[in-house]
């Protein structure tokens, strides 16, 4: 268990550094779409929800897990679609200009 935890901590720290580095000079018009896109990625919580509701053990945990699946999925699907709508709008503006 401790070994798994340490491996997980390594993954967490290295992924955090990647996250820091991946964002550099972003033009202001892209602030909201970038926020929205990364918000959709944070809907990854759906994986935890699937695992939590996957076991047929206690009823309440399965129900809570299923609610979490639905909420996270709204976040994921809504998030990516909303981001696409925003970015689509920018494209039209550029063509007009």
């Amino acid at each position: 268990m401790t070994e798994a935890l340490i491996a997980a901590l390594f993954v967490f720290v290295l992924a955090s550094f990647t996250g820091f580095e991946v964002i550099n000079k972003v033009p202001p018009t892209l602030h909201t779409p970038l926020m929205s896109g990364s918000n959709a990625i944070s809907g990854i919580a759906v994986l935890g929800a699937i695992v939590a509701s996957g076991a047929r053990e206690t009823n309440l945990s399965v129900i809570l897990g299923l609610i979490a699946v639905i909420l996270a999925m709204v976040n994921v699907v809504g998030g990516f679609l909303v981001t696409d709508r925003m970015l689509q709008m920018f494209k039209k503006k550029e063509i007009k200009a």
């Binding site: 996250g19 964002i23 972003v26 809570l64």
Partner: protein
């Protein structure tokens, strides 16, 4: 042969994580932003499909129903919202993600409680962090949404003894956490901690003015990434940890960039209401 499926799932996670990094990178530049969004969405699809193949997931019919219901709500919401209402829409979606992460911790706590299993210290700490960050993200995002949508007044809300009240909430959380680390199987204390986290989210956002809400939503977005990473530690899933850490870190950077664009510091955005109270009083 029995190793084939778990290995395949992990390798798929590796591909999905790479796609998230690529997608975030491309989202930061105007020429590739739209493609980056699609790349990240493909990564998410792969991650979800791989998780559904996990052999511990027995309940997949029900989960599929949940996935479909959530997707449908997401599609309808994304197409019905007005372009001008986008920031609060992102806030609302972000709140749902935070709620989902917190629910994972509650579900896991309930499962361990029902089993009467010993709760390992690391899982316990991860659950507490998940509940705190997820809970704050949930209610904080909804307050941000309400302020932008005009359901709530956009002006900062302050009241006497606000900071002592907030500090005592934080102290209550720490005391409750300490109690749970010694006595992990206490449902009332755990529920108390959930409640304190939810109130903290409200208290965090109400003193901030409506004009600063986009920055707050960006910060809460970063929080929801950290909540997802904490959920990853609870169920020991690398994909959750990687994606959560990516969003958590990139969200902080983006928040800072947004503050700089407004010529302000993050500190002044978060605590300016208290500054004016102190100055006028």
């Amino acid at each position: 042969m029995s190793d084939f499926l778990p290995t395949g799932i992990q390798l798929t996670y590796l591909v999905a994580a790479s796609l998230f990094i690529l997608g975030l990178k491309q989202l930061g530049s105007p020429a590739t932003a739209r493609q980056g969004n699609v790349v990240a969405a493909v990564g998410m699809l792969l991650a979800i499909v791989a998780t559904m193949l996990d052999q511990h997931v027995l309940n997949y019919e029900m989960i599929l129903v949940g996935l479909v219901i959530g997707s449908l709500i997401g599609i309808v919401a994304a197409y019905k919202v007005q372009m001008t209402d986008m920031p609060q829409m992102v806030g609302l979606l972000n709140g749902l993600g935070g709620a989902a992460s917190a629910l994972v911790a509650v579900a896991e706590f309930w499962r361990l409680l029902g089993n009467g299993e010993a709760i390992p210290l690391d899982a316990n700490i991860s659950m507490l962090l998940d509940v705190l960050i997820g809970g704050v993200t949930f209610t904080g995002s909804f307050i941000a949404f309400a302020k932008l949508q005009g359901i709530m007044s956009g002006s900062p809300i302050t009241f006497p003894l606000q900071q002592p009240f907030n500090l005592s909430l934080l102290a209550a959380f720490i005391a409750g956490s300490a109690y749970l680390i010694i006595n992990p199987h206490s449902l009332p204390v755990f529920l108390g901690i959930v409640a304190v986290s939810l109130v903290l989210g409200v208290m965090f956002v109400i003193p901030i003015g409506g004009g600063d809400m986009p920055v707050v939503i960006s910060l809460l977005n970063s929080f929801s990434g950290l909540a997802a990473a904490a959920a990853g530690f609870v169920v020991m899933n690398n994909m959750l940890i990687i994606a959560g850490a990516l969003v958590g870190a990139s969200g902080i950077i983006l928040t800072e960039i947004m503050c700089k664009a407004m010529n302000r510091s993050l500190f002044s955005v978060l605590f300016s209401a208290f500054g004016t109270v102190a100055a006028s009083g």
